[in-house]
Amino acid sequence: MNLTLKIWRQKNANDKGSMVDYQISDVSPDMSFLEMLDVLNEDLITKDEEPVAFDHDCREGICGMCSLHINGEPHGPDKGITTCQLHMRSFKNGDTIYIEPFRAKAFPIIKDLIVDRSAFERIQQSGGYVSVNTSGNTQDANAIPVPKEDADMAFDAATCIGCGACVAACKNSSAMLFTSAKVSQFALLPQGKVEAKKRVQDMVAQMDAEGFGNCSNTGACEAECPKGISLENIARLNRELIKAKTAVKH
């Protein structure tokens, strides 16, 4: 099939950037979206033009590196997948496809479609861990009983791959779904209880400091999340923070 691509081109962080049109032909419906971009880039290289810079790594939906806002949605029109799992069969011959970077003040553009998502790392570093004594007497994790339901919910939260689609989809550029997943995966487990109060406060403070917007519960994040992270996690995050902030200090 033949397609018109409208792609955001921006030389570097300081460049103003603009949308540039490209025609691409003979695209197979079996290609993945990223393969289609690979073909475009080979073409650009042979023409001695600068290839389009975009993020990718595993190309199998597990690393969270691929991004892209495609036709008005992060990761394109299909639900529950990353961009590397999107295939060209989701488009029709003659389609025009808008390809933009994830947009948020907290995700500054590095080049073209690549954005800096290290704000997520800093949120994670501020509290997204459990302290474990590794002195050699480490207790077997299985020795601590965890109710099945809690274990399942914690596991679901832990499937977040930190892709940033939730931020990209949110009209407020809020990072609540990501942060709530990272808080929930520990809040539900006995191992996470010890540092629970400090964790939620530090992570929310870091999230706010990074310049993400405020959640207004539109649910766009949940709808666009490739891993199906649920809004329940945001409610839990709210609860955890309210609990931590209103707790009587001893």
Binding site: G72, E73, P77, G213, T218, A220, A223, L241
Partner: protein, 223 residues
């Protein structure tokens, strides 16, 4: 470092939005109830209005709290809206919002501003004359005056239309806001589905009630 107050955090602020909203939603029920009496009994409406208009607790405690809640909900809402806009300085060229969220949820600021415009009108219409009557002109209280004043106001079709538009938008505002308030308070559990269903019922029935009463009063005035 992060031990700062709850209401300085993004989550605390949305909790504050939810709590003020909850208060306003309860107030709305009470207002609807009083309006409803106007349709069924002139005397009951006069009696209730006289009570609300002269009881010092209502006048000097409840009323200031209400005004504060409205102003707070508006100011905080606008502040958050501005912060949220600033969180995405460069807009997408193409956004398919309908693919992941409802129109109501994305346009709370718009429906909110229309409701606010209506409230200003409503204040000029009812509150300012009331305050003038009671506290400035110091006119003698006539406990039977309210119903006649009300009918007179609703004889103007433009006012009835403004009511319909404003309460239509209030319904949209509530359709997102009701469930959203509970989510913000951290309630997303086994009760949330029932609560959300009740929220939809509330969001449609309450504004519709105000609209129907406005129309009923207009029709009564025609006779």
């Amino acid at each position: 470092m992060s031990k700062s107050g709850l209401f300085k955090s993004s989550i605390g602020r949305k909790l504050a939005m939810a709590l003020s909203a909850l208060f306003l939603m309860i107030f709305l029920l009470q207002h609807l109830f009083i309006n409803l009496t106007a349709v069924f009994s002139e005397d009951a409406f006069n009696e209730l209005s006289h009570f609300m208009g002269t009881n010092p607790l209502v006048q000097f405690v409840a009323q200031p709290i209400l005004i504060f809640a409205v102003v707070f909900h508006f100011v905080m809402g606008m502040y958050l809206e501005m912060k949220n806009r600033a969180a995405r300085p460069i807009a997408y060229k193409k956004v398919n919002g309908a693919a992941n969220s409802t129109w109501m949820s994305r346009n709370m600021a718009i429906s909110g501003l229309v409701i606010l415009a209506f409230l200003v009108l409503h204040f000029i219409d009812f509150w300012v004359p009331e305050i003038n009557h009671k506290y400035i002109a110091m006119a003698p209280e006539d406990p039977t005056r309210y119903y006649g004043e009300l009918l007179h106001k609703f004889s103007n079709p433009a006012r009835v239309v403004a009511y319909i538009v404003a309460f239509g938008l209030l319904a949209l505002h509530l359709l997102h806001g009701f469930g959203s308030a509970f989510q913000s308070m951290g309630q997303n559990n086994k009760y949330i589905d029932g609560l959300k269903k009740f929220g939809v019922f509330y969001s449609i029935v309450v504004p519709l009630g105000f609209i129907l009463i406005a129309i009923a009063l207009y029709v009564t005035g025609l006779k």
